[in-house]
């Protein structure tokens, strides 16, 4: 029976080529947009090199000091992180590092802008970089302030035409560092992004060690994904006891350790104290997708509806020979879902091509979007949702056609 639906669907699509084209055009366009958006979200949210463990990590990137009528927000300082984070229970590893900062390197007559991040040794244990040459620096390098650096592939290409950067020297902030490792490029949108990574302790001044606020981020690796909740609670319970700098002015300290998704959502949905907005963000994403599908769905519904009467004879015959209205509903819904799934496959090819173009044109610097099986899966789910959304009403309308009237085939719109 199902097979006969498929055959029927195919026949109908082939006979009315313009309608099939108009439908497919809308379906493809809709799904390409949704798939590119999915690819971007996947790129931002799901585990990818280097933060392959992002289902177990927590990020501390913001700190607020709040007092009567004043509020000061910045990144946490080294002293705060060093003293209060390392002994949190159920934490496997802790890394303190600076967010990547653009600097300029001058070679010959041109200047290159590259990003530099200062990190500790644990950074390389929590994040799994893809080392092309050499390896990371470790805790001893950080302790002894060794002038060593890891650089990205892109940086290697720009600085050393011949490749093989390991063992060569580079200048950062007017200090010389020996390259010990080369890693594959990291996306701008991932935790750990930079072009050059050097030990924190190589900073020219050690003043950062005394700072309570500003300058650093901290990544925690929990023992299990489920432990993150209790770590967040433990951190929150410790905050009131921490002595604040300038306590005449400030009374409250707010620091939150966010999961990757929470950290992402707080960037877009501002809440008063930077609390995670994961639920709201999820709802907004779904709402946005549905809103975007509204017009394409209406379009497809109208196309499908306009063809009810053309097929009224078929509907009448099927009804006369014993089809329940339910079977007709399933048949017409199947036809539409089939078309959207086919459109989904086409859209996947088009998205692949579009993403390659976006990457090549460097529309978003340092970002390489790609399709993977997860995106493919989501794309097909979206196609299915779209197919049902745009197919249910026309199919229902068709299945409800009165058999005697359908056979009379003298239809009034």
């Amino acid at each position: 029976m199902f097979k006969s639906y498929l055959v029927m669907a195919f026949k109908v699509f082939m006979r009315r080529k313009f309608f099939t084209f108009a439908s497919l055009f809308g379906i493809c366009f809709t799904l390409v947009v949704l798939m590119v958006a999915t690819a971007a979200l996947d790129h931002i949210l799901m585990p990818h090199t280097p933060d392959v463990n992002n289902d177990r990590t927590l990020l501390l990137a913001n700190m607020s000091l709040i007092g009567e009528g004043v509020r000061s927000t910045s990144s946490p300082g080294y002293r705060f992180l060093d003293q209060n984070i390392r002994d949190l229970p159920k934490v496997e590893r802790v890394s303190i590092f600076t967010q990547a900062r653009p600097i300029k390197l001058y070679r010959d007559a041109e200047s290159l802008e590259v990003y530099v991040s200062r990190t500790d040794g644990q950074f390389w244990r929590i994040l799994q970089f893809d080392f092309l040459e050499g390896g990371p620096f470790n805790d001893e390098d950080e302790r002894d302030a060794n002038r060593v650096a890891v650089i990205s592939r892109r940086t290697e290409e720009r600085l050393f035409a011949s490749g093989n950067a390991v063992g060569k020297m580079i200048d950062v902030d007017r200090q010389s560092f020996e390259v010990v490792g080369v890693v594959a490029d990291v996306s701008y949108l991932r935790t750990g992004f930079s072009d050059i990574w050097v030990p924190i302790s190589t900073s020219q001044s050690q003043a950062y060690r005394a700072d309570f606020m500003s300058g650093f981020s901290c990544l925690l690796l929990a023992e299990t994904a489920g432990d993150r909740r209790s770590i967040q609670e433990e951190l929150a319970s410790r905050l009131p006891d921490i002595e604040l700098p300038d306590d005449e002015r400030y009374e409250t300290l707010v620091v939150s350790a966010n999961t990757h998704f929470e950290a992402f959502t707080t960037q877009f949905l501002s809440s008063e104290y930077g609390e995670p907005q994961a639920g709201r963000a999820g709802a907004l994403l779904i709402l946005g997708a549905l809103l975007f599908m509204l017009l394409p769905s209406l379009n497809l519904i109208n196309l499908n509806l306009s063809r009810i009467f053309e097929r009224s004879s078929e509907i009448g015959v099927r009804r006369a020979f014993g089809a329940r209205s339910g079977s007709l509903l399933v048949q017409f819904l199947t036809e539409n879902v089939l078309l959207t799934l086919f459109g989904g496959l086409l859209a996947l090819l088009l998205s692949q091509w579009l993403l390659r173009w976006i990457n090549n044109a460097d529309l978003v610097p340092f970002v390489n979007l790609e399709l993977n099986w997860r995106v493919f899966g989501w794309g097909m789910v979206l196609a299915l949702i779209f197919g049902v959304l745009s197919g249910v009403y026309p199919a229902w309308k068709m299945s409800r056609l009165h058999p005697a009237e359908a056979l009379r085939a003298r239809s009034k719109l």
Partner: protein
Amino acid sequence: MIRLDNVAKVYRTARMETMALNQIDLHIAEGEFVSIMGPSGCGKSTLLNVIGLLDEPSEGSVQIDGTGIAGYSDRQLARLRNEKIGFIFQSFHLVPDLNVVSNVEIPLLYRSMASKERRRRAIEALQSVGLGSRIHHFPNELSGGQQQRVAVARAIIGAPRVILADEPTGNLDSQMGDEIMAILERLNQEDKTTVVMVTHDAEQAKRTARTIRLFDGRQVA
């Protein structure tokens, strides 16, 4: 086999009511060959639709094979139609997107049956109407008479006890019309299938055992 008691059918629109059928009492025994005649617009097709459970009467009761259908759900009606009734239409109503054998299979789609068995029976039915060699053609590649024979095959494939034919020869020339009539008569005599046929043609009506005449929605003979 078919029993109508005091059946009326009224079509209502915002401005007027049309009485399509009025006080029809009809009893058709199993194995009968009955024709329905009357001028156009007298309610012949409506009567056939009511008998075929495609349309519900506004008043009165309809019994098929001893069971009243009052209060039947869409699902129950569909099942009755599927198992007991086969339809033939004046304008054939073949699905243009399907080839001949697929068209004939349609009634069996709504029964649980292996697709091979379905195909076998469809070919059998087509052979019995003399179209065994054209099973892969599409309707638009066939003549009117051939199309109607496909429709007959579709009507008999489910081995229904009743065949309802709405002017089956109305769109055909007389020779093709005779062929269709011959098939219907054979079905009636050999398989004891009850046949109810709407017709304009007095000659054809004479060939049936009984003729029911309608005028303005009323049974006049």
